[in-house]
Amino acid sequence: MSNEITPRPALGKPTIVPPPKGYSGSGFMTTKLEDAIGLARKNSIWPLPFATSCCGIEFMATMASNYDLARFGMERLSFSPRQSDLLMVMGTIAKKMAPVLRDVYTQMAEPKWVLSVGACASSGGIFDTYSVLQGIDRVIPVDVYVPGCPPRPEQIIDGILKIQELVANEGFRRRYSKDYEHLLKTYKID
């Protein structure tokens, strides 16, 4: 038995994200600060998985090696709301849990985004009953909805790409705007 180490197959050249639009010359580049920050934020999102049922299982598949969420700059999931940028709500939210979800959302630092995965989180789904919250948008603002019961990992990834688009193109001043303040006020979040 030989102890020789078989060489690893050559990997393709790693790709990097293209730079934002701007004016460049030899040794310098100018662009908008907003675009540069958007680029950085877009590719380093820390998601907080709030997985309560079967959509959470689909998310685990999305996170694992076959679908590999890490490809989109999400190697590290944050299990502390204070350090995360993206709240991923996956599963049925009981009415008793609504205040908990809202607490988690308010604990997150700005800027923050919310992805609602699956029929239950988006609308209550089949659980049209006294104990289930009929969509998380009754307690927190949602940026992207992913339909499905449960959605396939491809759909969840599609939702995440949509979130990335929002993150990249969000105006730098949006979180300080009157509109945003008004939005939070409609959800009674200070």
Partner: protein, 171 residues
């Protein structure tokens, strides 16, 4: 018909009925066998004494479960007990009813501490009160829930839902 999960013990059933009738007379309203289990219905005032009697004198040492009921047709609330005699391998079901206007039973926590949470559940979902319960508050629903959701007059669908078009559901 599938085989019953527990052997039907006709002799034990009859013995239980005889003992109960001898001790409580009119307190025992009816008895019948549904599927593989004896079902005894007793009057509300004697329910606590009947349970104590069954536990101490007829050897039903284990309370499998207790749950609330709502009989919408006769405007009554009820309790159903499942009792199990470990020694005799014998199970019975015990029922009792109270009118909707007076939904109060004595607590059974002095007989079986396990009824603590079961009584809280019956309160939570049916609004049945248990006088003497050490901590009678909602157990599963949120604490400020405004109704008793398993009563038959409570709407099945969430009343806050706006997106459902009745024509899709044939109504």
């Amino acid at each position: 018909m599938p085989a019953p999960a527990f052997a039907i013990k006709t002799d034990r059933d009859q013995l239980t009925i005889d003992k109960l009738v001898a001790a409580f007379g009119d307190g025992v309203l009816s008895h019948e066998r549904i599927s593989d289990m004896l079902v005894i219905t007793v009057k509300k005032p004697v329910i606590h004494a009947v349970l104590k009697f069954l536990r101490d004198e007829v050897d039903f040492n284990f309370l499998t479960s207790m749950g609330g009921m709502h009989y919408a047709d006769r405007d009554a609330l009820g309790l159903v007990f499942h009792l199990h005699s470990m020694r005799n391998g014998h199970r019975i079901r015990l029922k009792t009813e109270t009118p909707m206007k007076d939904p109060v039973f004595p607590t059974f926590t002095d007989l079986w501490p396990t009824t603590n949470w079961m009584e809280r559940e019956a309160w939570d979902f049916f609004g049945i009160q248990f006088s003497g319960h050490p901590n009678l508050k909602r157990i599963l629903n949120m604490e400020d829930f405004p109704a008793f959701p398993l009563r038959k007059d409570y709407p099945l669908e969430d009343p806050t839902r706006e997106d459902k078009d009745d024509s899709y559901f044939g109504r």
